[in-house]
């Protein structure tokens, strides 16, 4: 076995040194009754070529390469620069543990500090943590943060929040005596002011708004902060497509107290949904001590030289035990390094350009689809996705699949009563010719 570096002789010498005759003797503290009699047998060890063959076979059962994909809904296709792969794959980034020994972990720590700077500037916030699992758990952690700070257990959540985020929030809060109500959306696809007015009161701990929302609509929600006014309620922005921050107004400009979301778009492949990269940022220094997860901070060493460490750790599970702000320990550290490299590559101008291309391509597609007489469900402004209506969405979806096109996501998957909606996504990787092809195919099946 190539991962065992000891020769027969070394093993013998070690057994002798320990003072046992056989390895089995080392297991004598396990009572006989505890040892399994059932042989573990799921197959013989495979060699490297056999393993590659095994996975190539599995890979070939995924047919995604033959199709034109217009998929998003919280996981996006964007061009990942080769240097992101090249640099992040270095063993020094892939194979260390959590940087508990900062003197030999400055690489991970500094890169994370750079990421924290980038993500907090993109959201317009002051402070970021060093990552959460994904957008869904980030939304849940954002809500729990507001719960700890306001000590109020009633929340308002936009019905247009990503349905998987809503499900995850439900799972997370179920046993904590926290309740929430939905705020509806209006015909433009935006948060309904009327419904907000009906449901908002001073007892609300936080309001969660996603923009662009699950239907792709960009919210203009400064009014929410104005209505919250002097009450202690926190405004929490959720962003499922972090690239939108490249061109759209950041949460800070809407008066958000906390911004959470999914940054998969910054250097991670869709990868069947993971690894992902959850983020949480806040504008308020007082909230820092209630933040979940790892945080990297700048400091100096014994000689006054700049260095970075994990900090504010008395919030965390290993110290504060059951009173910790979250139970999170391992997070998505390596994804953070990829995001930092990705954002360095695109930089100030590139990220804006990338975001602009998404916006223009998707809106071009929307215009063309409207031209052929297909209804766009909402008239609100959109970034890189939007909902179209067909007579029978699943049927249309199937017909397009026969034409080797994956026409987004049938909304019925999430909202059983929704027979008509298809959520279509367009990013910079979809060429104009591809978009035109989709439009033509949509026209043909009409």
């Amino acid at each position: 076995m190539r991962y065992f570096p000891n020769s027969e002789n070394s093993i013998k010498a070690m057994l002798e040194s320990v003072g046992v005759k056989s390895i089995e003797e080392l297991f004598s503290s396990i009572p006989r009754s505890n040892l399994t009699k059932d042989k573990v047998g799921y197959g013989k060890p495979l060699s490297e070529p056999e393993i590659i063959e095994f996975f190539k076979n599995l890979e070939s059962e995924n047919k995604v390469k033959e199709y034109k994909l217009f998929l998003g809904g919280g996981s996006y296709f964007h061009h990942i620069p080769e240097v992101v792969n090249y640099l992040s794959m270095k063993g020094e980034f892939v194979t260390p543990y959590t940087p508990y020994q900062p003197e030999v972990s400055q690489g991970t720590l500094q890169a994370t500090f750079e990421y924290q700077t980038m993500i907090s500037d993109l959201t317009g916030m002051e402070f970021s943590n060093a990552s959460l699992y994904d957008g869904a758990t980030a939304a849940a952690e954002g809500l729990l943060l507001a719960w700890r700070i306001t000590r109020k257990n009633k929340f308002l959540i936009a019905r247009s929040l990503h349905p998987e985020y809503i499900s995850t929030i439900k799972t997370y809060i179920k046993n904590l005596n926290i309740e929430f109500d939905f705020i509806d959306y209006d015909e433009s696809g935006k948060i309904s002011k009327e419904d907000f007015d009906k449901k908002f009161n001073e007892e609300i701990g936080g309001v969660l708004i996603q923009s662009p929302n699950f239907f792709g609509i960009i919210e203009d929600y400064k009014w929410i902060k104005d209505k919250i006014g002097e009450s202690k309620t926190l405004l929490i922005s959720v962003i499922a497509e972090a690239l939108s921050l490249g061109i759209l107004k950041p949460p800070s400009e809407f008066g958000s107290d906390v911004a959470v979301g999914e940054a998969q778009s910054f250097g991670l492949y869709p990868y069947f949904g993971g690894p992902t990269l959850g983020f949480i940022t806040t504008s308020n220094k007082k909230f820092l001590w209630e933040m979940p997860g790892r945080i990297v901070g700048e400091t100096v060493d014994a000689e006054g030289k700049r260095g970075f460490v994990l900090t504010l750790s008395t919030r965390e599970q290993h110290i504060r035990r059951e009173r910790a702000t979250s139970n999170i320990c391992s997070n998505q550290a390596w994804c953070v390094i990829r995001a930092a490299i990705f954002l360095s590559v695109y930089g100030k101008k590139g990220l804006r350009e990338l975001a602009k291309q998404n916006l223009i391509k998707a809106n071009y597609a929307k215009e063309r689809i409207k031209e052929i007489g297909i209804k766009i469900r909402f008239d609100g402004p959109t970034f890189n996705e939007f909902v179209i209506e067909t007579e029978n969405a699943e049927e249309a979806y199937r017909k397009l699949l026969d034409k080797k096109i994956v026409a987004g996501i049938p909304l019925k998957w999430f909202y059983p009563e929704d027979e008509k909606g298809l959520l279509l996504t367009f990013t910079e990787v979809n060429k104009k010719t591809e978009i035109d092809e989709l439009v033509k195919a949509l026209e043909e099946i009409k």
């Binding site: 320990v18 490297e48 799972t171 179920k174 690894p275 994804c335 490299i341």
Partner: protein, 484 residues
């Protein structure tokens, strides 16, 4: 060559430089959305060229110690070698480019992979069902405790308390808390393992479950686990086993056979997927048959040779996160499992235990071994042998860095004063262990003869000992141009 100081990427930024390359827009630009929704220029991002980016992150890489570089004996972290073939299989385009909302018929490979991994983990642990979605060990604990709570609710009463031995993992209390439970710590006793008699003293109708790490953080096997499971079941409570230390048990013990109801594993520990500097990991949870109905959604079903995710499960705890978990990590773990085979895993466990005992045997006359009970995959020493020189555990750890060795886990478990918790894993040679042992002995001598040397350590790392108090007192969490 390691640079003395690498600036922040922002300090390399200059107006007009760029590192990106994307095609020109093939569509005419128009103002599609109102101006007032657009932001001003992105101030936080740097402007740097590709070559600067490569040099910058290469310099940062040099500042990191890693398993690829050398011995990394962090206790309870199982820092084994990460096979390179894992990256090859996980990097196949058909996986990377598959979208979680693809129609199921286009991602049969992924779904089959999930089922295959579930089956192998079932085989290894004896549990009929697994969920692979939790993204880390602590996330698995939360999912597991939520399942226990749901199951108790379905039985009529969720109960109030979770018992946790003082030798358990740090995340256990917090995970129980977020599942809505109060935590009661119970003493593990002088011999380092929990007695069924002790557990019985704490049992009453409020006890929902006991969360037990086995082998525990002392490296000691919980030899009364079967009796404890029986006592819990008699009381209507469940047994949760933290399987972070499963590297000590493969091929020897199937936790389900002991009466464990719920177990989580750490794929980034036992099954060699890398730690990535703190994730992404995966914390699959195995459950006994009666828990099938409460598994998180979706459950992947095989129907007429096709794999289909089943979301329609009324008693499920719901979604624990988006999509299908850290799928890429699952590919790596499956790769490792296939390469090792069942017999390879058993060998891995045996060599891991041999390596740990070799270290124990050779250091026990130098360092104080607070628990004499036989240990499996790790060994914990205390500060008692060097405290008298005015040297702390942290000083020993920092001095190890000077010798190019990553220190063990320190100050954990809390039941050992100034703990040094050492887990070598099976992928280290006798030579490496000998070097470590010699170095530890040498440092102990230095502690006696020249304690200042240790207190000022490390001397030869890219930065010297860092001021953690300052970092917490004046949190500086992002770069700001004006301050520099």
């Amino acid at each position: 060559m390691i640079k003395d100081r690498e600036p922040l990427i922002f300090e390399l930024s200059e107006e007009g430089k760029s590192g990106f390359s994307i095609p020109e827009l093939d569509i005419e630009e128009k103002n599609y959305i109102p101006e007032e929704l657009l932001r001003e220029e992105l101030k936080g991002l740097p402007e740097v060229s590709e070559v600067e980016i490569v040099r910058h992150y290469t310099a940062l890489a040099h500042y990191n110690y890693s398993v690829d570089e050398g011995f990394y004996p962090l206790g309870s972290c199982t820092m084994k070698y990460n096979p390179k073939i894992n990256e090859k299989t996980a990097g196949m385009e058909g996986f990377l480019l598959s979208h979680p909302y693809s129609p199921y018929e286009l991602v049969q490979g992924n779904l089959k992979l999930i089922r295959t991994l579930e089956n192998i983990l079932s085989e290894l642990t004896g549990f009929p069902f697994f969920t692979l979605y939790p993204s880390a060990g602590a996330h698995g604990e939360l999912a597991g405790m939520l399942m226990i709570r749901k199951k108790l609710e379905l039985r009529g009463n969720p109960r109030k308390i979770v018992l946790i031995p003082d030798s358990a993992h740090g995340t256990n209390p917090a995970s129980s808390h977020f599942a809505g439970y109060d935590v009661k710590e119970i003493p593990s006793g002088e011999e380092g393992y929990l007695k069924v008699e002790t557990v019985k003293e704490y049992l009453n109708e409020d006890v929902a479950a006991l969360m037990m790490t086995n082998p525990n953080t002392l490296g000691v096997y919980e030899r009364e686990i079967k009796e404890i499971a029986e006592a819990l079941h008699e009381n209507g409570s469940y047994l949760y086993m933290d399987g972070a230390n499963f590297n000590a048990l493969m091929g020897y013990v199937k936790p389900a056979e002991l009466g464990v109801d719920v177990l989580h594993l750490n794929l980034h520990k036992t099954f060699s997927t890398p730690h990535g500097g703190g994730g992404p990991g995966a914390g699959p949870v195995g459950v006994a048959k009666e828990f099938e109905e409460v598994l998180p959604v979706p459950v992947i079903k095989e129907i007429d040779g096709k794999y289909v995710p089943d979301f329609n499960r009324p008693n499920s705890i719901g979604k624990i996160r988006s999509f299908y978990g850290n799928f890429g990590v699952l590919i790596k773990a499956l790769t490792y499992l296939l390469e090792m085979g069942a017999e390879g895993l058993k060998k891995a466990t045996e060599f891991a235990v041999l390596n740990a005992n070799y270290i124990r045997e050779n250091l026990k006359d130098t360092y104080e071994l607070p628990y004499k009970t036989r240990t499996l995959h790790e060994v914990v020493f205390s500060e008692d042998s060097f405290k008298k020189y005015g040297v702390k555990t942290v000083d020993i750890a920092k001095r190890l860095l000077d010798y190019g060795i990553h220190p063990p886990t320190v100050y954990f478990p809390l039941i050992v004063h100034g703990a040094l918790m050492i887990e070598p894993t099976e992928t280290e040679s006798k030579k490496t262990l000998d070097t470590f042992i010699e170095t530890m002995k040498k440092i102990h001598k230095e502690a006696e003869n020249n304690p200042e040397l240790l207190k000022e350590a490390p001397h030869f790392t890219p930065v010297r000992r860092l001021n953690e108090v300052l970092a917490a007192k004046k949190p500086k969490l992002k770069y700001k141009e004006e301050e520099e």
